[in-house]
Symmetry: C2
Subunit: 370 residues, 2 copies
C-alpha cells in the first residue's frame, strides 16, 4: 500500500483521485472566522452517497443521495462554516454549475439542469467575534471557482482554510486535513475532512493524537511537562462552557473505484470508523458528523481477467463476486484509515488563533511539530 | 467515573445494570465449538434498540426494534453461534418466556403473549470440526434458564463460553467480554460483546491490543521477539484462506438510564465507535456487526431538582433539555468506551483452542497476561 499523505509529506490528498478538484473560500477579519470548501466532481459528475451519524446535523440535499432516488450523479459537494445559515453557500455553487450546464437534466435544452449539490455545515458562529458573519452564496461561488481554476491533482491547502477556518476540536484549533492511498489494485482512496469535533482529537492522558495510535508504529509520547502545560491551555475554555458545544466532523471520501450508489453509501458509513479512531467521544447529540462518498468510477472492482475464466457460469460468477467483495473490503478499510490520517493532518496543520471570538491554541503551538 | 471491569478486576460487567441477567450455553466436544448467550431483561421487560452496521448480518426480530413499531419493551436478547442456522436458539427462549407469560400481550389471558426476542448470530460454522454442529432451540432454552437461575449482579463468565465459544478475531481466539462503569450521575452503562471480527483486535505493527490505546494511560509494548513470534502464528491461517472470512462483533449495551426508544437507538449506533477503536478494519462486507441497546430506565436523565426551579417555563424547559442532552452525551460516550473495554477483556480472557476445526491461539498464549 502506497501510503500518501497526510499533506506535508508530498501528496496531494483528495485530488489524488483523478478529476476531483477542491477549492476553498476563506473569510477572516472584521469579526469573521469561517469559510466554505467545495469538492468539484469531474465533468459529467460522480456517484455520491452520505451517512449522517451525528446527533446535531446541518445538511442540504442529502435525501437526494439515497440510492433509491433519481439523480444518479452529482457535480459538487459543499462543506461550509456558518452552521445552518452557511448552507446558503450551496446556492452560489448551484448558480455556477447552472451557468456551466452541469446538473440533473430536466428540459429539452442542455442548459435546463437542476444541480444536486449536497452540503453540510460546521458550527463556528461567533468564533471570529461576529455571530452574524457567515458564508453566503458569494462564498460558495468563490470556492467552486477556486476549485475549477485549480490544476488537476494539485495539493489541497490544509489547516485554517475554507470550511476549516473557524474549526475547533475539543479546545484545540481544528481545520482542513486530507490524505490518500493507492491500493494494490491501483484503486485510489482519499479523504478530506473538516475537524470541528466536540470530542477530543488528543488523548488527555498522554498528549498523543488518538489517530496516531493507528499509524502503524510505536507512538512518541510528548514530555510530561509539555503535556501538562498544554492541558492547562486546552481545558480552561472547556470548563467554562455553560452548555455542550455544537460541533461536527465532516468528511468527503473519494475513490476512483466503480462503486454502485449502495456501495458508496456503505463506504460513507464505514468511513465514520476513521472519525471514531481519531476523535473521542464522537457522534454525540451535539456533533453533526457527516461523511460523503464521491465515486468517479474509472476502476472496475474486478479486473477483466477475473471475469473471463473458462469456469461454469455460476462458479465463475461466485468467484467474481467474492473477488469484488474482497476489493470492496479493502476500499472500505482504506476509507476509514484515510479519514483518520486526514484528521491527524488537520490538527497538525492548524495554526493558533487569538481574536475577538476567543483563543484557540494549535497542537503545533502546544506540542511542536515533532 | 468509577471504571469497573473488564472482568477479572472484580466487576460483574453487564449485570451491574440492576435486573439484567446473563446466561450462557456452551457446546463443545464431538465436533462442536459454539454456543448461545442470552441477556434477560428484568421482569416487565426493557426498552431496546439495535444498529446493524456490518455488511453481512444475521439477525432476527430486529425490525421490531424500530422506535416506530408497536412493542415498547422486550424480555430477552439472544446472541448465538451457528450463523443464521443458530438463530433457531431464539425459539427456545421464546418458549421459555411464553411459559412464564412474558412478552407482548395479544389476548385476554395473561398467558396470551408473543415475546419479541431479537437475536443476532456470529459465523463459527465448522470451527469445532463439524460444519453442522449448531445451537438450536434447546441451546437457547439452556442459556435463558442459566440466566434466570443466576444470582442478581453475579459476574458474567467471559472468554470461550456461550456465543463466544467458537469466536475468532483476526486469527486470534475470540470470545465473550464485558465491562461496566458508573457515571457521576449514578447511571450505570455496561457492555457485553462477542468478539469474532474479520479485522484484527491486535495492532500488527506493535502487538498492542488496539482497544488498550484508549485505556487512558501509556501502553506497554510487547518485546519485539515476542511480537514477531506471535505474528507468525496469527498470520499463517489468514494467508491460506481462499475467500474473505465471515465474521462479526456483537454487543449488548445496557443502561439503567431512562432513555426513549429513539435515544436507545442512538446509543446502539454510537456504541459501534467502541468496536471501531478496538478492531481494525471493521464493519466490512463480511462482518455482521450488530449492537443492541437495552434500557431498564430506573434513572431519569435529568435529576428532579433540575425540573423544579422557579424559572419562566420556556427557559426552564430549555435548561432541562440541555442538561438531559449533556447526560445523554455522557451515556453515549460511555457506551462506546465500555464496548472497547469489553472487547479487550474478551480477547484477554479467551483461551487457545486446538481441535478438528483448526488451531486458534489466544492472546494470552502469545503475549502472556501482563
Amino acid at each position: 500500500m502506497d501510503e500518501r499523505g497526510p499533506r506535508g509529506r508530498g501528496d496531494s490528498g483528495l485530488t489524488d483521485v483523478a478529476g476531483v478538484r477542491v477549492g476553498h473560500a476563506t473569510l477572516t477579519g472584521e469579526g469573521r472566522l469561517t469559510g466554505t470548501t467545495v469538492v468539484l466532481a469531474p465533468e459529467g459528475g460522480a456517484v455520491a452517497a452520505v451517512d449522517v451519524r451525528g446527533g446535531g446535523p446541518g445538511t442540504k440535499e442529502t435525501d437526494a443521495l439515497d440510492p433509491r432516488t433519481v439523480a444518479q450523479r452529482i457535480d459538487a459537494i459543499v462543506l461550509t462554516g456558518g452552521s445552518a445559515y452557511g448552507l446558503d453557500a450551496a446556492a452560489g455553487v448551484m448558480a455556477w454549475l447552472e451557468e456551466h450546464a452541469r446538473g440533473f437534466r430536466v428540459g429539452p435544452d442542455p442548459s435546463h439542469v437542476v444541480p444536486v449539490v449536497p452540503a453540510a455545515c460546521i458550527f463556528d458562529l461567533g468564533r471570529g467575534g461576529d455571530f452574524r458573519a457567515r458564508p453566503d452564496a458569494a462564498t460558495g461561488r468563490a470556492a467552486v471557482e477556486a476549485a475549477a481554476a485549480s490544476r488537476p491533482g494539485s495539493p489541497v491547502p490544509t489547516g485554517c482554510v475554507g470550511a476549516g477556518t473557524g474549526a475547533v476540536v475539543g479546545g484545540l484549533k481544528g481545520g482542513i486535513g486530507t490524505a490518500s492511498t493507492m491500493l494494490g489494485s491501483g484503486i485510489t482512496v482519499a479523504a478530506l475532512v473538516v475537524v470541528n469535533a466536540a470530542g477530543s482529537a488528543l488523548d488527555p492522558a498522554t498528549g498523543v493524537l488518538y489517530g496516531e495510535y493507528f499509524a502503524g508504529r510505536r507512538v512518541r509520547y510528548p514530555e510530561p511537562e509539555v503535556h501538562e502545560a498544554a492541558l492547562d491551555k486546552v481545558s480552561a475554555p472547556l470548563a467554562t462552557r455553560s452548555r455542550p458545544p455544537l460541533n461536527t466532523t465532516l468528511a468527503v471520501v473519494a475513490t476512483d473505484a466503480a462503486l454502485t450508489r449502495a456501495q458508496a453509501q456503505k463506504l460513507a458509513g464505514t468511513s465514520h470508523d476513521g472519525i471514531a479512531r481519531a476523535v473521542r467521544p464522537v457522534h454525540l447529540m451535539h456533533d453533526g458528523d457527516t461523511v460523503f462518498a464521491l465515486v468517479t468510477g474509472a476502476h472496475p472492482l474486478t479486473p477483466p481477467d477475473q471475469r473471463r475464466k473458462g469456469r461454469p457460469q455460476a462458479e465463475s460468477r461466485e468467484a467474481t463476486e467474492a473477488a469484488a467483495a474482497g476489493v470492496l473490503n479493502e476500499i472500505l478499510a482504506a476509507g476509514a484509515d484515510q479519514v483518520t490520517r486526514a484528521i491527524v493532518g488537520a490538527v497538525r496543520a492548524a495554526e493558533s488563533v487569538r481574536g475577538a471570538g476567543g483563543t484557540f491554541p494549535s497542537y503545533r503551538e502546544l506540542y511542536g511539530s515533532g
